[in-house]
């Protein structure tokens, strides 16, 4: 299985080689999407974890056992229709047809339910009408 999570750290936890242990002991593939660790060594990591379901769950439990707060990443793509000029460029990059062109009218629409937040559409939009939002808790920053 594969999922994106946010890990909130305190200073003590970030001293440990967490990523190393996740790879070594749980055989997980880890892709760091975003990190913000302050000089006091507190902060968060947004990571994508991939591995067998059992291992995945054990890995997440391991993080929790260290006192790391683990939460599913709430990440959403927002399509601002009032900024969009309906060029259609994004639709050809979208693997799920969340962004799709009605071939009759050539109009572009966005279906959030189909979006897997892969990010393919973000770079190709010339008006920056498509934005990615990470939800990170302010309190732990």
């Amino acid at each position: 299985m594969r999922d994106k999570i946010v890990c909130y750290f305190s200073a003590a936890q970030s001293e440990q080689p967490i990523i190393h242990l996740l790879v070594k002991n749980y055989d997980l593939v880890i892709n760091i999407l975003k990190a913000d660790i302050n000089p006091q060594k507190e902060g968060y990591l947004v990571v994508e974890l991939e591995g067998e379901r059992n291992k995945y769950n054990e890995g997440v439990d391991f993080l929790k056992s260290l006192g790391v707060i683990v939460e599913p990443l709430s990440e959403t793509v927002v399509w601002q229709s009032e900024i969009c000029i309906q060029c259609g460029a994004c639709a050809s990059f979208c693997p799920t047809e969340a962004l799709a062109i009605d071939r009759e009218t050539m109009e572009v629409s966005f279906d959030n339910a189909k979006c897997v937040v892969c990010g393919m559409c973000l770079e190709c939009c010339p008006t920056r009408a498509i934005q990615l939002y990470f939800e990170i808790k302010e309190a732990v920053r």
Partner: protein
């Protein structure tokens, strides 16, 4: 059958003109036949809305007190060309702020440029104006640092040296890495095919020999009214054409002008092309007076009868290598897939067809309401019989050549 501009304008004034869009005309003529339709239809409206880098605006700021002869001027940090009279400047759509990181971290984002400045001006937003000068007896001031809006300007008019390209390349990438171009992102190994034309709605596709579009033609420009002032730069009408007269490669272009103060930010939109730069999407619509059957015939052109060349942007375009990848038509491009070299390729549009359609529709309504009359061009622009040579920069060594100044 022959109609005159004056006869058509007379009907527009009476509110009786029959106006249809370049899409609608196709079915009408198929149904009624050329002869009958030519008698009935007075005007066919066209439209296009896409990135047009060769765009910009002339501005007169009025004077500071004391007066200034601006040597350099910036609008929201984007430099405008000021090598003209004291407080005149030209802001170009592709200009970037000096502080832009460009492609230093590739691909660059180009978040803000001249096109965005123009959109913000038209939207009535506050603009940071800075200027420096060396000071003269007549213009002693050396610095301006203030905030303006479009209403503070004496004149602000769009003057675009090259717009409304008649046909354009379909861009692909034969290389093995992603390309970031003015045709958008091109995936490696021909992963997509990017195109940029409104096809059957595009102005110059509907008047391929510029029989009605010329100097002084009144047009829809940026949501307001503008005029054709000249042929555009790189105008190259003497290229191979199809039987319907439509060029098979990029061909004619137009230079257009219009008062920015009556335009609308919905129709002039600043764009950021990743890895390439900043530019602007311009909305243009041109009315075609149906003076006779021949002119009507040209407006009935369909997407499937308009072909454009497929060009490689890995080596073909940038290095001028001749690689023949054939031609594709706009019906297939708009369907989402085209066949190139026997392979199905996903298509990526750059020009907005829904907005092109909206322009043709808006222009149609203006004419029906009688608020927009047609103008007869005062001069034509060079057409297919011209003998224009497409030139490149000569490769000459300046060493040993005495250049007299």
């Amino acid at each position: 059958m022959q109609k005159t501009y004056e006869e058509i304008n007379e009907k527009i004034r009476r509110g009786e003109a029959v106006v249809v869009t370049a899409e609608e005309v196709i079915d009408i003529v198929a149904e009624k036949g050329m002869e009958k339709a030519a008698r009935e239809i007075d005007v066919v409206t066209t439209g296009t809305f896409g990135p047009m880098c060769s765009s910009g605006a002339f501005i007169n700021f009025g004077h500071s007190r004391p007066r200034i002869k601006m040597k350099k001027v910036w609008l929201n940090g984007v430099e405008a060309y000021s090598g003209i009279a004291a407080v005149d400047a030209y802001i170009g759509a592709a200009q970037l702020p000096e502080t832009d990181p460009e492609n230093k971290v590739f691909p660059g984002r180009f978040t803000y440029g001249g096109g965005h400045v123009i959109q913000d001006l038209v939207a009535g937003k506050d603009i940071h104006l800075e200027a420096i000068a060396y000071g003269t007896d007549c213009y002693p001031n050396k610095k301006v640092d203030t905030v303006i809006t479009i209403n503070d300007l004496n004149e602000a008019y769009l003057f675009n040296p090259r717009n409304a390209y008649q046909n354009y390349n379909c861009a692909v990438n034969l290389g093995d890495r992603t390309l970031y171009t003015y045709m958008g992102i091109l995936k490696p190994n021909m992963g997509n095919a990017s195109y940029s034309s409104a096809g059957q709605l595009s102005p110059l596709m509907n008047d391929p020999y510029y029989k009605t579009i010329g100097l002084g033609t009144r047009i829809f420009l940026g949501g307001g009214i503008g005029y054709v002032t000249w042929n555009g730069t790189q105008h190259h009408p003497n290229v191979p054409r199809g039987e319907n007269g439509v060029p098979l490669t990029p061909a004619g272009t137009l230079a257009v002008i219009g008062d920015l103060k009556q335009m609308n930010p919905y129709w002039l939109v600043g764009l950021s092309y990743i890895g390439y730069g900043a530019t602007i999407a311009v909305g243009i619509g041109i009315p075609i007076p149906i003076l006779n059957e021949e002119i009507l015939y040209y407006t009935t052109v369909k997407d499937e009868d308009i072909y454009c060349p497929v060009v490689d942007y890995f080596e073909g375009y940038p290095y001028g290598k001749a690689i023949d990848l054939g031609k594709v038509n706009y019906r297939d491009l708009k369907s989402g897939r085209v066949t190139i070299n026997g392979r199905q390729v996903i298509t990526t549009p750059q020009s907005s067809y829904p907005r092109a359609r909206k322009i043709a529709q808006t222009l149609k309504e203006w004419i029906q309401k009688g608020t927009f009359e047609l103008t007869c061009p005062v001069a034509g622009i060079p057409s297919a019989e011209a003998n224009i040579e497409f030139k490149s920069i000569p490769d000459r060594s300046p060493n040993g050549i005495t250049i007299k100044r």
